[in-house]
Structures are given as structure tokens and as C-alpha cells.
């Protein structure tokens, strides 16, 4: 049996997996499954038979210690955090450990207006920048109480997903 300690944005999971013939016996979150995985019909897809029920798993992407997959249109990313019995997995520090000092665009769009200036003290949930994407206006908000160090967003400019809009401290 191998124990996997997996971190994800959806919480941490302890998974015990044991090979059982052509399948695996898996325990996770107090539930036991018999899990059989076979390749799907198209690129990057798998069919996971979870206690007899087939789940289509798509866009499977793996590295040594992390795995991303999509089930039912929902994307999940798992990181293996502690080295377990057999596989050497480099522990990756979870990204959420240190608070982000740059508030980034959650989607591509156009900067309609920057609502804050350098030095402004803002509270969690305060709108910082208004973006326009798909003809909708979206407020990008502070994720915690902080002070604005620099406004990176330029009004009227196009921004990509993940591009920094406001630097905070």
C-alpha cells in the first residue's frame, strides 16, 4: 500500500492505494473505492471506473509530483506534498503559503478604470480595478486588508489573464 498526501485548492486529501489484480483499492476521505483506469478514445483522456461507474477524465497532465485533470468539466490540480514510501516526490510548497503581493487579472480584458491610488489603504473585498471582459464589467477586489504600493493597470489597456494590476503591501 502506498499513502499519497495530496494538496489541492479543494482541500488536502490522504489517499491510500493498493494494487488489487487489474484494479486498485483506494481509500480517500473515509470512502473506499475499487478503481480501474483505462485509456479513453481521444488524446489525453482516461476512463476511470470508480466502483463500477465510469467517469471520463480529460486533459490529464502530469509532472513528477503533480497531476492535473478534468472531470465533468471541473478542473482539479493535485500536488503530492510529502515523500511517501516508494516514490520520490519533491515536496512543493503550496502557493497559498505566502500572501500574494500582486493582485492579478482573473481573466483577459480591458482596464476600464483603476479605483485606487498609490498609498491607499484598502480592506478585503474593496474593488481596486474595473475590467471589461465579454461586454461585462468585472471588479477586481483586494483579497485582504492591505496598502496599495503601485497601480500597474493602465486605463484602456488590454490585459492578459494573470497579469498584475495592483501591487500591494
Amino acid at each position: 500500500m502506498t499513502r499519497y498526501e495530496l494538496n489541492s485548492d479543494d482541500g488536502d486529501f490522504t489517499v491510500d492505494a493498493v494494487s488489487a489484480g487489474d484494479a486498485y483499492g483506494v481509500t480517500v476521505s473515509g470512502k473506499a473505492y475499487r478503481l480501474k483506469i483505462r485509456p479513453g478514445s481521444s488524446a489525453g483522456t482516461l476512463v476511470a471506473e470508480l466502483s463500477g461507474r465510469p467517469l471520463i477524465v480529460t486533459s490529464v497532465r502530469a509532472t513528477q509530483s503533480s497531476l492535473e485533470l478534468t472531470i465533468g468539466g471541473e478542473r482539479f490540480a493535485y500536488r503530492r506534498v510529502a515523500a511517501a514510501t516508494r516514490t520520490v516526490a519533491a515536496a512543493i510548497a503550496p502557493t497559498s503559503a505566502s500572501p500574494k503581493d500582486v493582485i492579478a487579472a482573473p481573466m483577459p480584458g480591458k482596464v476600464i478604470s483603476a479605483l485606487v491610488q498609490e498609498g491607499a489603504k484598502v480592506k478585503a473585498g474593496d474593488p481596486l480595478v474595473i475590467l471589461e471582459s465579454m461586454k461585462m464589467e468585472v471588479a477586481v477586489r483586494a483579497d485582504r486588508d492591505c496598502e496599495v504600493a503601485e497601480v500597474l493597470a493602465e486605463e484602456g489597456a488590454a490585459v492578459r489573464r494573470g497579469q498584475g494590476l495592483v501591487r500591494v503591501r
Binding site: 502506498t2 499519497y4 495530496l6 479543494d10 482541500g11 486529501f13 489517499v15 492505494a17 494494487s19 487489474d22 484494479a23 486498485y24 483506494v26 480517500v28 476521505s29 473505492y33 478503481l35 483506469i37 485509456p39 479513453g40 481521444s42 488524446a43 489525453g44 483522456t45 482516461l46 476511470a48 470508480l50 467517469l55 477524465v57 480529460t58 486533459s59 490529464v60 497532465r61 502530469a62 509532472t63 497531476l67 485533470l69 478534468t70 472531470i71 465533468g72 468539466g73 471541473e74 482539479f76 493535485y78 503530492r80 516508494r86 516514490t87 516526490a89 482573473p106 481573466m107 483577459p108 480584458g109 480591458k110 476600464i112 471582459s133 465579454m134 461586454k135 461585462m136 464589467e137 468585472v138
Partner: protein
């Protein structure tokens, strides 16, 4: 009929128009912005012309470029679709000057229909009931306050020009009115480029009922029944149906009659929609005219057995309407769900990106109007409508069941959509009881309970995904059965870092 038509639009509606043109043997010219070069409407058209950069202001909204493209292509007519500049009198006028037939009403009708205050007075004169107030356009908070006090609260503030559900605010007192005026003016200026609001009495609870008309501009007006469009979020329609459930036969006839009277008073030429609010006693109040084809027109087509784009083209080509009201037969019921690239669980945040996986439902009575395909990149520059799922049933309950089935078959990955929210709405007991009004979502806390259910479902899936992830990792160790997939497509980015499981 015309030899050739330029379609001054994009997305599903451009595709929709091209299909009818092809059926009629009319040559089509598509236009496209830089991000739309691979769009479906470009592929389906006989000819395609680049119109400019992605920003709509430099492309689909630029009237001079549109008219120039039409003139250069030598087309007979220009079809504006919906949205963008479809109801802009200036486009109609410039087409006229360039000798190109605009598929829509005359510039004069567009001017009147585009000003809600003027249009309301035409309606009043034609004997069509209107909501109290809204007789002048207010440009200052002071004038709006005066108007509100004279009417008595609660009132509704609305953009006088244009629409699309922008610039609308309810006010129950002076303070809310002043605040609402500020917000609505900003929104109006930004989205419509023109300020000016009007104040009218708030009708609540209200249902949104609209009537489809076909009018040849020579006095012949046909009505194709009403649509119920009360399922809205922030004044954006999500789900439409025809006929409106629970309407008295007399009320149904009355509202259709109002729409016909108004079309006649406007010398309206084109297909069009007259929108009304209906109060709980089934009294109707005219709100506005949509002088174009509407997003929800397919439900009427399903029930009437007519092609509204064909009607538009025939009217524009001067062929008129060669049937009478008695020839129109409306049978069964039809329903449409808008599948938008939005995440209802995240405040309906827009979700652009690449469509990774796509499966459309099928079966009897199912129609999908869309311009997306697997691998299509949903651009961030335009509206979020991905597809319109339309079903037809013997009655509305039959249509509802078919719609639920169709939604359950609908698969789309790569962007977040409203598919599951629509299922949630259709299964709600207030919906199955046809207890509908424009506050439906808010009153029934639909979005809130949807978010809870999505979170619970995702938690369950995340746990199963962890099991799958662990087994995939474990299989790499060589002790158990090996898990492989075919190699993922090249476009998936971190290729250098990623180790794809090899093809068997």
C-alpha cells in the same frame, strides 16, 4: 430577392443569417475582426472581409467601415443582426445614401423607436397602455428627483436611449434615486455612449411578455404570438418560451393587438418585437420596441413554422408578406436556454478561453444555434452567448422535460457555462408551477442554492479526482497496472516539464 447580402455581425446570429441566405440562394459576405478570422461565420460565408482590430469600436461597431465594406463588396443589402449597431438609425441612413438596402426599419422609425420617451408617446397615442411617467428625458439628478416625487415612489430609472438591460435602477426613496441616478448615468454613458434617463412608476411583481411581429411597412402587420422572458438576471434574459404559461386567452389577444397597433403607428417595416410588462392582474404596459431580429426569435420560429430571417429579407426586398393573420398557425410550445460563457458560481464572471470538449444534445425537436466548435477560442471582446438551445414540445411541460434532457446531454469543457444553472432553474418547483416574474431568480434564491450545490458536487468530485490522481501516480511506480493515455495535444503548454503518458 437580393443577389448578395453583407452580414454586419458575428457569432451565432451571423451564422443563423448566412444559413437562410444560402437556402434562398443569396450570396453572403461576412465581416470579421482580427480575432474572428477562424470564426464559423467566416467559413460559411461565400466571401469574407476583414473589418478591423478585435476591439468592437474599431470593427463591428464602426458604421463607416461597415458601409464601406458593403459598398466595396457590391452587395444589394446589409443585414445588421442584433446587438452592435443593429438599431442605429445612422447605419440605416448611411446604407440608404450608399444605395444599399438596410434589412430593417427606415431611419425615421429607428429614431423614434430608439428614444424610449418618444416611442412611449407614440404608443400612448395609438391607445397602447404605458407605465405612468417617463414623459421627459432627465439629464440631472434634480430633474429626476422632481419627476420621481411627482409620480410617487417606488420608481424605475431607465436609460432613455438604447437598452440591453443597462442603466436600470429601482428607487424607493429620494436617497436611492440620487444614488441610482449616478450609477445608471455612468453605466449608460459607458455602454451606450449617450446619457439621459427617464423615471417611471415601478411595476412589481411583473412578468416580461413580448410579442413578435412581422410588418411589411405598407400596413400589413402579422403577430406571431407572445414570448415569456421573465427568467432574467440583472435584466439579461436567460430563458425564453412561447406561449406564455398561464395567460388568459383574452389577455393573449389583447397584448398581440397592442403590438400590431403600435407597429402600424410606427409604419414599421421589418420583423420586430414589442416588449411589455404584465402585472399580476394581467394588465400590460408597453416598455419598448426592439427594431431587429431578437436573440430569442427561434422559439417563435419553432412554433410558427416560419423562418424570420427569410421574412426579413423578403420584406426588405419589397416582396411584402404574402399571407394573412388567419394563415398563421401556432402549434405546441417552445423554450430556449441561453448557454453563456459565464460562471454563475462566481458572480457570473465572464469565462473566455478555448473550447476543449464539446458535445451537443440532439433528438426530436432540438435545435442549437451556435458558432462554437471544438478548439474554438472564445474571445474576450464580445458578448458571452455561446449557444442557444431550443426545444419544441406538445405543450410547455413537454418542452420543459425535453429541455432538461437536452441540457443533461450538453457537454462543454474549457469555459464555464450556464448549462447547469439552467437545469437548476428548470427543476425548481416555482418554475414547474409556472410561478414566473422578473424577480424569479432573486425571489427563489436560485443562484445562492446553485452555488451551494455546485460546491458540494465539486467537493465530491475533488475527492474522487484525488483517488484517480493517486492511482495514476502509483501506476507510474511499476507495481500495479499501468495507466496510460494517448499523448495530449501539442498545444497544452508546459510540454517541457510535463511527462505525458504514452500511447499504447
Amino acid at each position: 430577392m437580393f443577389d448578395s447580402v453583407l452580414i454586419a455581425n458575428r457569432g451565432e446570429i451571423a451564422v443563423r443569417i448566412i444559413r437562410t441566405c444560402r437556402l434562398l440562394g443569396v450570396k453572403t459576405v461576412a465581416i470579421y475582426s482580427d480575432v474572428d478570422a477562424e470564426a464559423l461565420h467566416v467559413k460559411l460565408a461565400d466571401q469574407a472581409v476583414r473589418i478591423g482590430p478585435a476591439d468592437p469600436g474599431d470593427s463591428y461597431l464602426n458604421i463607416d467601415k461597415l458601409v464601406q465594406a458593403a459598398a466595396d463588396a457590391g452587395v444589394d443589402a446589409l443585414h445588421p443582426g442584433y446587438g452592435f449597431v443593429s438599431e442605429n438609425w445612422n447605419l440605416a441612413e448611411k446604407c440608404r445614401q450608399a444605395g444599399i438596402k438596410f434589412v430593417g426599419p427606415s431611419p425615421r422609425t429607428l429614431v423614434i423607436a430608439g428614444n424610449k420617451v418618444d416611442c412611449k408617446s407614440v404608443a400612448r397615442r395609438a391607445g397602447v397602455p404605458v407605465i405612468d411617467g417617463g414623459e421627459t428625458v432627465c439629464y440631472t439628478p434634480e430633474s429626476a428627483l422632481d419627476a420621481a416625487r411627482e409620480l410617487g415612489y417606488p420608481v424605475l430609472l431607465k436609460a432613455a436611449f438604447g437598452g440591453g438591460g443597462r442603466g436600470i435602477r429601482e428607487a424607493y426613496d429620494d436617497r436611492q434615486l440620487a444614488q441610482g441616478f449616478k450609477l445608471a448615468s455612468t453605466e449608460t454613458r459607458r455602454s451606450l455612449g449617450k446619457s439621459g434617463l427617464f423615471v417611471e412608476k415601478l411595476v412589481k411583481p411583473a412578468r416580461h411578455i413580448e410579442v413578435q411581429i412581422v410588418s411589411d411597412g405598407r400596413g400589413k402587420v402579422i403577430q406571431l404570438g407572445e414570448r415569456e422572458c421573465s427568467i432574467q438576471r440583472r435584466h439579461q434574459k436567460l430563458l425564453e418560451m412561447t406561449p406564455a404559461p398561464g395567460l388568459d386567452e383574452l389577455a393573449r389577444m389583447r397584448v398581440a393587438g397592442y403590438a400590431v397597433d403600435l407597429a402600424k403607428a410606427l409604419s414599421y417595416e421589418n420583423v420586430g418585437t414589442v416588449e411589455f410588462l404584465m402585472d399580476k392582474d394581467q394588465n400590460f404596459y408597453f416598455i419598448e420596441v426592439n427594431s431587429r431580429l431578437q436573440v430569442e426569435h427561434p422559439v417563435t420560429e419553432m412554433r410558427a413554422g416560419l423562418d424570420l430571417v427569410k421574412e426579413q429579407l423578403e420584406i426588405a426586398a419589397g416582396e411584402g408578406v404574402d399571407y394573412g393573420q388567419d394563415d398563421v398557425e401556432l402549434t405546441g410550445a417552445a423554450m430556449q436556454c441561453r448557454i453563456n460563457a459565464e460562471d454563475p458560481a462566481a458572480g457570473f464572471a465572464p469565462s473566455s478561453g478555448r473550447i476543449e470538449r464539446l458535445f451537443f444534445p440532439g433528438g426530436a425537436g432540438v435545435r442549437i444555434d451556435t458558432a462554437v466548435y471544438p478548439g474554438y477560442e472564445v474571445p474576450e471582446y464580445y458578448d458571452s452567448l455561446l449557444a442557444k438551445l431550443v426545444v419544441r414540445g406538445n405543450d410547455m411541460e413537454d418542452a420543459r422535460k425535453r429541455m432538461l434532457l437536452a441540457l443533461s446531454e450538453f457537454e462543454i469543457e474549457g469555459v464555464k457555462t450556464t448549462v447547469r444553472l439552467q437545469r437548476f432553474i428548470l427543476e425548481h418547483e416555482e418554475f414547474t408551477g409556472w410561478n414566473l416574474d422578473v424577480e424569479f431568480l432573486r425571489r427563489n434564491r436560485i443562484v445562492e442554492s446553485y452555488v451551494e450545490r455546485v460546491a458540494a458536487d465539486r467537493a465530491e468530485l475533488a475527492s474522487q479526482g484525488a483517488a484517480i490522481a493517486a492511482v495514476i501516480m502509483e501506476s507510474g511506480t511499476g507495481t500495479g497496472p499501468v495507466v496510460r493515455t494517448r499523448p495530449a495535444p501539442m498545444r497544452q503548454q508546459p510540454v517541457q516539464k510535463a511527462r505525458h503518458y504514452d500511447a499504447i
